[in-house]
Every structure is written in C-alpha cells, then in structure tokens.
Symmetry: C2
Subunit: 164 residues, 2 copies
Amino acid sequence: MILDSETKASEHSEDHGDELRLWLRLLTCTTLIEGEVRRRLRERFDVTLPRFDLMAQLDKAPEGMTLSDVSKRMMVSNGNVTGLVERLVESGHIDRRTSETDRRVQMIRLTKLGRAEFRKMAAEHEIWIANVFAELSEKDVQDLMRLLAKTKLSARKTVPQKAV
Amino acid sequence: MILDSETKASEHSEDHGDELRLWLRLLTCTTLIEGEVRRRLRERFDVTLPRFDLMAQLDKAPEGMTLSDVSKRMMVSNGNVTGLVERLVESGHIDRRTSETDRRVQMIRLTKLGRAEFRKMAAEHEIWIANVFAELSEKDVQDLMRLLAKTKLSARKTVPQKAV
DNA sequence: CCGAATTACTTTAGGTTTAAAATGATTGAA
DNA sequence: TTCAATCATTTTAAACCTAAAGTAATTCGG
C-alpha cells in the first residue's frame, strides 16, 4: 500500500479543524434556537424551558413515568428532576404518587390543568419551530434529519456505556 | 392560481411535525456531545465547560476582550460572565483590568498560566470532537456544515433584533 | 432465608444561568 | 453646558444543573 505525503502525515497529526468548526456551528444553532424558545415561553406563558420540556415528556406518556425515565429522556441528572418535579407538583401541573408495587418508585403524570396548559403552549411552540427552519427546503430538512441521526449514532459510540 | 386539497389545507394548518422532530434531534445531538465534553473536561482536567468556553474565546483574542464581547460571543447573559470571570481571575487563569479610555469597560485576557492550560486542554478536546464525528464521511461533514449554516441564517430571522 | 449488590430517589455543595433592577460612566442633542 | 439617554458592568433572586454521597427498597445468588 502506497501512501502519499498527505495521507502519511495524517496518520499522526490529522487535521481536525473541520470537525471542530462543525461542532461549534451545531452548538451555535442549538443555543440560538433554545434561547429564543426560552424567551418566548417566558414572554407568552411565563413558563421556563425545563418545565416545558418535562411536561412535554409527560404529555407523551399518559399512563405516567417514573423520575428515572424522565431523567434518562431529558438527559439530565436525577437530582435535577427531583427539584423540577417538586416545583411542578407545587404549582399543580403534575401529580406524583408512590408506586404500589415498588415503594422506591414515584409515578408522575400531568394533571388536567397541566395537560391543558401544555397543549396550548405546545401548539404555539410547534409553529415557532417551523418558522425557525422556514428557509430550509423539504429536502434540506430530510438531509439534516439523516445527517443528525448519523451524528447521534457516531457520538454515542464515544460515550462509555454503563456495564450490563 | 389553483391549489390542490393538500396545499389548501396547509394554508391554515400546515404539518410542522418534521421540523419539530428535526429540532429535537438537533437538541439531542448537542446535549449528548456537550455532556460528554463536560464529563471529560472534569475527568481529565478538573475544569468546567463554561470555564473552558470562556478561555476558548480569549485564546482567539490575544489582545483581550471586554465582558460584553464575551457575553455576545458565548450567547449568555452579562451577569453570567461577571461570575465566570470572577472565578477565573481568582484561579489565576485570566487577567482583568479597567480600560484607560473608558472606565466602564473591563478588558480581560488569558494569563500565561491560563493560555498554557487552555492549549493543553484544547488539543485533547479537538481530538474528542473529531471522534464524535468519526463515522461521518468528509462529504457528510461538509453537507452538515452547509445545512447548519443555512439553519443559523433561517433561525436568526426569527430572533427580534435590537433597534439600531 | 440472608446479606451483598442494585435500584430509585433525595440531599448536599458548589457552580451556572437567567431576567430584571441597580450602579456608574459616557455620549449626544438641545 | 447640561441632562436625558445609552452603555458596560454588577447585583439580586430564583431557578437550574451536576457530581457525589446518602437513604431506603428491592433483587438475587448462595
């Protein structure tokens, strides 16, 4: 196998500049969108983004979820969820009860109020997000979906998994 | 202009599901990568991500930056920067001095220690990021760069600009 | 059955983050 | 000049977030 000088050089000191720029761009897009969503949630509904995110998880699980489930789905620490849930119970948006079969487990679900408020917010939120991507063609959206799926798989391989 | 039923329907209740899924995927990728970078920075260098990010900004500006500059670049609030800078001055990584021409302005820059430590971390960081995207082809990377640039422009249009 | 390991959740300490108000310095228009 | 507006930064209050340690319940191998 013959290697030209460029390939040879890359063996020990590859150029990683493109990947770094890609990461920064990805981060910028997310931060930009997240900040705007946060601002609008506060302005329109006086709600924080983490509260909205947690309610979104519960809306997809009418039968309820455990705190651990929420923690994994939201990719945040257990302790973080404990505090968020505490405040959402306090404000009457979610309902928490200890599982009858396993007393370690807390099942939480949206209350009627919580569900109603979430649905109202979610409807607007979906329009905001559609606007965010308004200048992308349908093909752009599909391409981006595909590339991000690939990125997610690639990134996951660099994350050490818990032993099974 | 003739509209078929699908187009007609879309006038008032367009389907925004794809965009929403795209946003969630974007967010997942960023959260995943960010979490892993945070974990490694702590594990390898006992440093937090915000501290690293701030030092990265300063490394690109050898002549120094104002706190407002940093705030804009990092897309975080002013008050946040004040606290971060406070701790980085405390630990000897950055140097802060009041501008001679405008006493409202604080110029900050990396100290010798700060620069040395940052460079060491940045070298490893770059490799971690390259690994994150390792399964993407060179074309994938370029496509993703282009689509994210487009996304950024599109998203910016939905963010209300401050009056000039 | 029994004790070690695991699991679910909470607590703690410290740092991060925001929005909004406050402080002090500069600018600019009348 | 002068004072209202603007600007850079800090402060404040509350929430968010993590890592790590702690508590209590369950599971499982022997």
